[in-house]
Amino acid sequence: MNVLPSHSGRRESFKNWLRLTLVDNPMFDESKREQRRFLRYGLAMRIVILALFAMFYLWLILESYLGHTDGSEPFCYLELVLLTLALPASIYGSISGERERATWDALVLTRLTASQIIFGKLIWRMRIIALIVVLSIIPIIVSRFNPDSYDTTNWMVFRTQLVLCSWSLLLCTFGLWVSSSTKRSITSLAVITGSLIGVLLALPVLYAMFTNMVSGSQTNADPISQVMYTLNPFVCMGPLLGTRPYGDSPLIAGGEFGYPQIAVFLGLALLFIVFTYWRIIRLERPIRGMR
């Protein structure tokens, strides 16, 4: 007779799942390997790279404090560009690379679960996101002490950070899904890059061309354009930071701007996690059987 697990049994198995996925996950070792890849450059090269970065970063902080303009927008754009470039570059080969390297079979024959693989692959990219966000937010906070900065009570800059984090998570999960669906890393990179260019640039431009829409003003745009622009992080950054007027959107009230983007990005990220999970299950279980 099939006996359903009790409430405490379910709680135990959930705790066990959490432990295996988030604490005792061998896949976290990947970050150690990535760090070593950097350390391989040799001491002199490492010192040069770190020194150049430190100088640039110090200049950013000083400029934020002493500059005569508000630095929030350029910092946020810089952060967005960094995240949009760095994350796909770090994740495109995460699963297809395992298959190319012929380590995938060895991996699936172990007792690793699909969720351990997914979170193991995501967790150190999340560290990259956290690092970039922290490094970007420091100059932004410093710029708040600049008397020439705009309204210091405007906390939209932090909502922008949440939009950026959810966008980053979406990039990671999309990249992971593409990587799990392709056999070659180069194909994965091409699909991710093509999709980003398509969604962020080509599609809005083509749509605008075909609908004879005049770009620049979103106020009178039709709902499809509204969605495309609202969900484009490069476009929505200006209205978010208040440096450009948002206008009367038929979709989102000005005060709520940012929250729908966060919800959509996180929702899509969750969807891609589910897709990746299914894909890994398919890859690791050519023979029927459930884990």
């Binding site: 890849r37 060895a106 007792r111 059987g289 884990r291």
Partner: protein
């Protein structure tokens, strides 16, 4: 321990494996012989739960490979022909990663890693990065990885390919040792001398069909029902041939080389009859410099089987 029953794999119109059956016991080292494309790797991958068979059954330690692949996986150690290793990781870290992936308790891992490193003779390379190891050492490290969870069955696909002669000998010794430890091992190769030394059972595959599979001695016995005795004399062979005609156990005589005075006889008698024959030849005044039984080696067996001599 390992039972295959009429295992079959079809890709479209191509039958990769046709009705393979096999039974192996603990400690058996089974040599899977066949040319490239014979179906060895496909069979091994089906056993490793990486490919689903079209029909037939397979079980390891009584667990159905097809119905319960996830229960079977901890019981097997699989070493593919083209294995991959992670870069920027030390040998012991590589083993520790797989031990933790197999959920070996953290407290037990250091001693297990020490043991498998010692078994694979890699103790001195414990802290070396895997990309700095030689091909033979990497092969042994991959084998060590297959052992960290103490599997009952080892599936080794061309484990000695691409190795230099010394590394080949080392890996053969290692596999023999694992067989002595009671593990059931399937080793595939298309290089026959590689398997001859340490396999107690062999299976010969060609175009997806298992032509023959049994103990090495049984196959030789089937292919060579009568003994072959090689005789080398110091002078002309005519007298010896005349003398051999009077022995009913001698069923055939073939001159190998007239110039070196050597011939091969088919002999149906036992060891005692063999001794009697040798004594009679010497007492008959024939100058015998060499008299010994020749046995078929794996190469002979393979050639005989794959040319259709045995069905």
């Amino acid at each position: 321990m390992l039972v295959l029953n009429n295992l079959r794999k079809v890709y479209g119109t191509l039958t990769a494996v046709e009705g393979t059956s096999l039974t192996l016991l603990p400690g058996d080292i089974f040599g899977f012989i066949g040319p490239n494309g014979a179906g060895k790797t496909t069979t091994i991958k089906m056993l490793a739960t990486l490919i689903s068979p079209t029909s037939g059954t397979a079980s390891i330690d009584g667990i159905d490979v097809i119905a319960h692949p996830l229960e079977v996986r901890p019981l097997i150690g699989y070493m593919p022909d083209s294995f991959g290793l992670y870069d920027d990781i030390k040998a012991w870290e590589y083993l520790d990663f797989f031990a933790s992936a197999y959920r070996v308790p953290k407290a037990d891992r250091p001693s297990i890693i020490e043991n498998v490193l010692e078994l694979t003779d890699l103790t001195t390379k414990k802290d070396a990065y895997v990309q700095t190891l030689s091909r033979g050492m990497q092969q042994r490290l991959c084998l060590a990885k297959c052992l960290v969870h103490d599997p009952k069955v080892l599936l080794l696909d061309e484990p000695a390919s691409g190795l230099d002669p010394r590394a080949r000998v080392e890996i053969k010794e290692l596999i023999s040792e694992l067989g002595r430890m009671g593990k059931t091992i399937i080793v595939s190769s298309h290089i026959l001398p590689e398997l001859a030394d340490f396999c107690n059972k062999i299976g010969i595959m060609e175009r997806g069909k298992m032509l023959v599979s049994d103990r090495v001695e049984s196959i030789v016995q089937r292919l060579q029902p009568s003994k072959k005795l090689a005789i080398k004399a110091l002078g002309a062979l005519d007298g010896i041939r005349l003398a051999l005609d009077s022995y009913p156990e001698v069923t055939g005589v073939t001159v190998i080389d007239e110039n070196s005075y050597s011939l091969l006889i088919d002999f149906s008698g036992d060891t005692t009859a063999q001794c009697v024959l040798l004594r009679a030849l010497i007492e008959g005044g024939h100058q015998i410099s060499s008299f010994h039984e020749t046995r078929m080696d794996l190469e002979d067996v393979f050639l005989r089987v794959t040319t259709g001599s045995v069905q």
